[in-house]
């Protein structure tokens, strides 16, 4: 808790020790504006001070990586002069305090990260997690977040083509709202966040600066929640998608005309970040004139101007002879623009306000001298107790279990969500929401980009290292079944309070798991985000790393595999290792048994690589490929039946194996004798046909009931029933 009687640095979220090191760095007391800048730049959210040392573990290199972690977005080479830019970010805390604006500004922020690189944003994916929908508060948060994503994404004109949904009590006090964005660009349009050389002019583009979002990164995003968190509402920014749309078009025109040296978006830490980071990267200093900043309220102080997180703003670094041309483009798109700074030789960031120098510090020090913590780690002692109690077997009727799973809001149809999102704009969405990976074509080429985003808090709670590795393999298999080869990962690491050794251990283990799996597949991590302090009243969320996998299909299979292409008489095959009956961490364990015990099945790196390669190969000839994940084989087959409007008969398989989520498996459906399967484990498990789904000796389920149960899982809960 903070009070007005505390020293200023504590109120700004800076510890006494960090304040001491700032005094040592400057050799004097910081001025108020300087303290404001350091407090946000040294926040957990901006500086990654608890995670930085661990993130170095990630493999980040591959011949196709053009820009790795550290810039606004990762960039990879698609061949033939095309590049893709991608980034993922969280807006967890703002979305709990104000769900609509929190989610909306999360979308706005991730778009800016991508078009800052010179790319046109072409698609968004949202990964959202809430507490159970029987609690009205969770329904309010869920509805608000979906509305915010729709309200901003639809209006800004970037399609939301997929994502992920999960419900678990651990997210009741702390929902997770992650968003990933993909952009494409021609190689010559790539722009970096550099301030350029002395004489370069800094032009602030976009919305006027106000008092919204002050301390968003430090006071809100880098602290835990308690009963007084609702008082932090003024720290949430307010978004305006119309301003963002104009800003996107104006920036793309600036890039196309070659008018900028570098660009940096104004997100967390606002002007403090957008001046110091580009100057630091370029090894130059910069003079900033706060009186030139266009504002929408009077009387703002220098610290407020420097910390404001007002949305829809961009800093362009421009050669002095091109300033008029840049201002003309801004004027055409009806956005405000102001010359607010000039790059200087040396390394000093000098800020003036009301004619006085209010800050004079080494530009690079705001980022480079940030504290770095080696926080203590401890393996949680409850982990062995969980592992000592293997998951119970399910003795219910398989058909009943299947219907209960399809009625679960995390496994049922996502139509209630994705039909509120424009997921078709730009005419590129070959495979949209509701399936495995999304498939987005690159027009004018034979290429398509596949993306899958995957997280699983329960798996990672039971085994953070193996769980995180399995996410990478699952995401890779999801893009593989669309015909794409996995090529790059971005990750969003959502964790509890890093000051607790158990949370820090979970974090380290997850980073290790992601790294190992990425190394196995030869896929680099090109960017990411860390969200700590996801705890409310001392209770941490499950460790929830989310992996966003980008794959390239070149050429794209036409037509690509689709669940709806299953027809009467086709055979159903399960490709990959035969599953165990271990249900630890599975959806069946959660929904049917309501417990969380046991140790999930470990991934098999060699098998993962082989199965993924098989899927990529088969995607060019097999009409239906479907990853086996949440709900296991039974739910996978049911999803095919629902999408294709046809029944199926499945062999008499052990109930545990029907609902097992053991990794590295997918379903292939094809007419008998039409496909030669590559070497590797595979078994024929059934046949497509009829108007019922029959699981072995279990009672057949009518297709209508299957479809209706699946369709109503979310709507019936949102209706309060």
């Amino acid at each position: 808790m903070t009070t007005a009687t505390q020293p200023l640095h504590l109120r700004l979220g800076m510890t006494d020790e960090e304040h001491e090191s700032l005094l040592a760095l400057l050799g004097r007391e910081p001025r108020p504006a300087e303290l404001a800048m350091y407090s946000v730049m040294w926040s957990e959210h901006c500086s990654y001070k608890s995670s930085r040392s661990h993130l170095r573990r990630f493999p980040t290199e591959a011949p196709w990586v053009v820009v790795g972690p550290g810039e606004n977005a990762g960039v990879v080479d698609l061949g033939d002069g095309w590049l893709a830019a991608l980034r993922i970010e969280s807006h967890n805390h703002p979305s709990f305090v104000e769900p609509y604006q929190g989610a909306a500004t999360g979308v706005g922020g991730i778009l800016r990260d991508v078009f800052t690189m010179g790319a046109r944003p072409i698609a968004l994916w949202d990964q959202i997690r809430f507490g159970p929908l029987d609690d009205p508060k969770n329904r309010y948060l869920f509805n608000g977040v979906v509305s915010g994503i729709a309200g901003y994404g639809n209006a800004v004109g970037v399609p939301t083509v997929g994502g992920e949904i999960e419900f678990d009590p651990c997210y009741s006090g702390n929902p997770l709202v992650n968003v990933m964005c993909l952009g494409i660009l021609r190689r010559e349009q790539l722009v970096l966040g550099t301030a350029g050389t002395p004489g370069t002019v800094a032009i602030l583009l976009g919305r006027a600066t106000g008092r919204d979002g002050i301390g968003g990164a430090s006071v809100l995003a880098s602290a835990s929640f308690d009963d007084e968190s609702q008082e932090k509402r003024p720290s949430v920014q307010v978004g305006d998608p119309f301003e963002e749309k104009k800003l996107i078009e104006a920036c793309l025109e600036l890039y196309e005309k070659g008018l900028v040296v570098g660009v940096q978006d104004l997100g967390a830490a606002g002007l403090s970040c957008a001046t110091s980071e580009p100057a630091g990267r370029a090894g130059v200093g910069i003079d900033v004139d706060l009186d030139a900043v266009h504002v929408r309220e009077t009387g703002m102080t220098a610290p407020e101007l420097l910390m404001s997180e007002s949305q829809e703003r961009m800093m362009a670094f421009v050669s002095p002879d091109l300033v008029d041309e840049v201002l003309a483009v801004a004027s055409k798109w009806e956005i405000d623009a102001a010359v607010v700074g000039v790059v200087r030789a040396g390394e000093t960031l000098t800020v003036r306000h009301d004619g006085h120098v209010v800050a004079e510090v080494a530009a690079a020090s705001l980022a480079d001298e940030a504290p770095l913590y080696d926080r203590p780690m401890r393996r949680p002692d409850w982990l062995d107790r969980m592992w000592a109690h293997p998951a119970h077997a399910i003795d219910d009727e398989p058909s009943e279990v299947l219907l209960r799973l399809l009625d679960d809001p995390a496994l049922g149809s996502t139509a209630w969500i994705h039909e509120q999102y424009d997921h078709m704009l730009f005419l590129n969405t070959v495979a949209g929401p509701g399936g495995d990976g999304s498939l987005i074509r690159v027009r004018g080429t034979d290429k398509a980009l596949a993306v899958s985003t995957d997280g699983n808090g329960r798996l990672c709670h039971l085994d953070p290292r193996a769980g995180a590795a399995r996410l990478v393999y699952e995401a890779a298999l999801n893009v593989a079944v669309t015909g794409a080869r996995p090529m790059a990962v971005v990750d969003n690491l959502n964790f509890g309070n890093p000051e607790k050794p158990e949370v820090m251990w979970q974090f380290r283990e997850s980073v290790e798991g992601i790294s190992e799996a990425c190394e196995t597949l030869g896929v680099p991590v090109v960017g990411g985000n860390v969200s700590f302090y996801n705890e409310t009243d001392g209770v941490d969320i499950h460790p929830t790393p989310v992996v966003g996998m980008l794959g390239l299909a070149d050429p794209m299979p036409i037509p690509p595999p689709r669940l709806s292409r299953a027809v009467e008489g086709m055979e159903i095959w399960e490709i990959g290792p035969a599953p165990s009956a271990n249900l630890a961490g599975s959806a069946a364990q959660r929904v049917i048994q309501g417990e969380l015990t046991g140790r999930p099945t470990l991934p098999d790196p060699e098998m993962a690589r082989q199965v993924i390669a098989t899927a990529v190969e088969l995607a060019h000839s097999v009409p239906v490929l479907h990853d086996i994940s949440d709900g296991g084989l039974a739910v996978g087959v049911a999803e095919i039946c629902i999408a294709a409007g046809v029944g199926a008969t499945i062999a008499d398989i052990d109930t545990g194996q029907l609902f097992s989520e053991d990794p590295h498996r997918f379903i292939a459906v094809f007419a008998p004798g039409t496909v030669e399967l590559p070497e590797g484990p595979a078994r024929r498990i059934g046949v497509i046909g009829g108007q019922t789904l029959t699981l072995g000796r279990s009672q057949p389920i009518a297709l209508d009931l299957l479809a209706e149960t699946h369709r109503n899982a979310i709507p019936r809960r949102m209706a309060g029933a």
Binding site: A150, N154, G157, M424, F426, L427
Partner: protein
């Protein structure tokens, strides 16, 4: 034959419309909303999006954009004028089509394929179609429910299963002359089977066939 595709700040379907018309053999060009001379064009499309942020009310600000007087002139001269989604809302606000678009019956944004039935072939959008012909194209709107207290709008296409509460289940309407048409679903999103449907071609081909030299 050249078609102007008007871009307001906030418009977002302009490139899709140009792509669809081009694929069908038409010639389409983007025109900024401040343009005051469309004399080189034979027809005009107002694409979907959020013109001027849809502030105040959908289409309410766009109707005052400089380009609108040229669109009124072309409409009056019998040239094909097509408003899609937000463009439909703008044409209603501008008084070139009767009625108005209000929030969907269920107060939620709807983005999905819908089935339509052609009810009138005497319009620039439906002239190459047949009465009773079914087309399946995507709907993508929040203010998509058409109401017309004047009861003067001619329904060109209706929803087979009305998703948003439109009067007469209207999905597309025209003026008396049939040269000004507003459609709420997106024909330009239905020109490629790979994306789910090629049914929009029948409508946009009708529009292209309606163009005659200026």
């Amino acid at each position: 034959m050249r078609t102007a595709v008007v871009v307001f700040p906030g418009t977002n379907c302009e490139h899709d419309v140009v792509h669809a018309l081009t694929v069908l053999g038409g010639e389409a060009e983007l025109v900024w909303h401040r343009e005051t001379d469309l004399s080189g064009f034979d027809g005009v499309v107002l694409p979907g999006g959020f013109a001027h942020g849809d502030y105040l009310r959908t289409g309410a600000i766009a109707r005052f954009s400089p380009v609108m007087s040229e669109i009124e002139r072309m409409a009056g001269q019998g040239r094909p004028v097509l408003g899609i989604c937000n463009g439909f809302q703008i044409l209603c606000e501008a008084g070139l089509l009767p009625g108005a678009l209000i929030a969907n019956r269920d107060l939620a944004f709807i983005c999905r394929f819908v089935d339509l039935e052609v009810t009138d072939t005497d319009t620039v959008l439906t002239r190459t179609a047949e009465v009773g012909q079914r087309v399946r194209i995507p709907l993508n709107s929040y203010e998509g429910s058409w109401v017309d207290p004047s009861n003067t709008g001619r329904v060109a296409l209706r929803y087979v299963d009305d998703p948003n509460g439109s009067q007469q289940a209207a999905a597309a309407i025209s003026n008396d002359e049939g040269n000004v048409v507003g459609i709420m679903p997106h024909p330009e999103r239905g020109v490629d089977e790979l994306l789910g449907s090629g049914d929009g071609r029948a409508l946009l081909e009708g529009f292209l066939h309606s163009l005659v030299p200026a």
